[in-house]
Symmetry: C2
Subunit: 143 residues, 2 copies
DNA sequence: TAAAATTAAATTGCATACAATCTAACTATA
DNA sequence: TATAGTTAGATTGTATGCAATTTAATTTTA
């Protein structure tokens, strides 16, 4: 029954369904986020700003698990859209502070129904959602 | 305590940790997969071929949740590496059959220790791994 | 304090992802 | 059976994502 290659079967992977589910959910976000002219990456960047108002690229990267190679173009796009400003720190010129604009804060109200819409797409029992959340958070803590 | 914007906090998202954990694990794969000259996407494509030997692009896409826009260049790269052949079906010229080569099958032996190495990086209790797997599979089934 | 080391972003190069479009081939139907 | 519709892959364009490198600024250290 069991052969030495079982561990390489797609159905026995734990990472693959993680990868696939993640992509599929982000795909579900697309139509809702398009209504407020954001991509998923832009959306999570704005989430950070909606909470922190002003944060440097490094700290935002730490929260989002993204490096400057990814964040720089995303933040430049959001700046062009008028949702944030980018300004070097006065104390340390290496640091770039990203600050949400009034327009950026207004966007939050337009995003308010996105989480609910996504919740409807996922359809997990609440106990499943809780344990999924806990396990993922535990894993994130290990990185 | 609770405000109307709570649902938009990064810490209250279920998709974000899914997205972040998925990326971080794929990053963990990188050094192990580099030893056998594969990227993660190439690795899961090879996994399908190690099981099925010959499969068309559409069916592989259904298994991997990837479309031809992603798969075509991945399969062309794997063809260049000599791990598979690409040939139009005789019965239906629209269909492209992808078949693993002997060289591609040899690669499976070199990949045998990858799952174990990744398992050590993840460090989940076995009950957590089981419920994570079950929940993700259930979600995948809904797409 | 001058040189070395470190740090934060930006840049470059490569590999995905995916929507939208295109092309060729097959199928259904009037 | 001619035509409309459908299907499978490939292509195009845009947006990530990340490793590696670069640049400028700051910190450490000899």
């Amino acid at each position: 029954m069991a052969d030495k290659y079982d561990s390489l079967k797609l159905d026995n992977q734990i990472c693959f369904p993680l990868y696939a589910v993640s992509k599929e959910i982000i795909r579900k976000y697309k139509p809702f986020l398009e209504e407020i002219d954001l991509t998923y990456t832009q959306y999570i960047a704005m989430m950070v700003l909606w909470e922190d108002r002003c944060i440097c690229v490094k700290d935002m990267g730490a929260k989002l698990f993204l490096d400057s190679g990814t964040l720089t173009p995303v933040l430049k796009t959001l700046e062009k859209k008028g949702y944030l400003t980018r300004r070097r720190s006065d104390e340390d010129e290496r640091v770039l502070n990203v600050e949400v604009t009034e327009e950026g804060m207004k966007l939050r109200d337009r995003a308010l129904d996105v989480p609910g819409k996504i919740g409807q797409c996922i359809a997990l029992e609440s106990d499943e959602a809780v344990s999924l959340y806990k396990i993922l958070r535990k894993m994130l803590g290990q990185f």
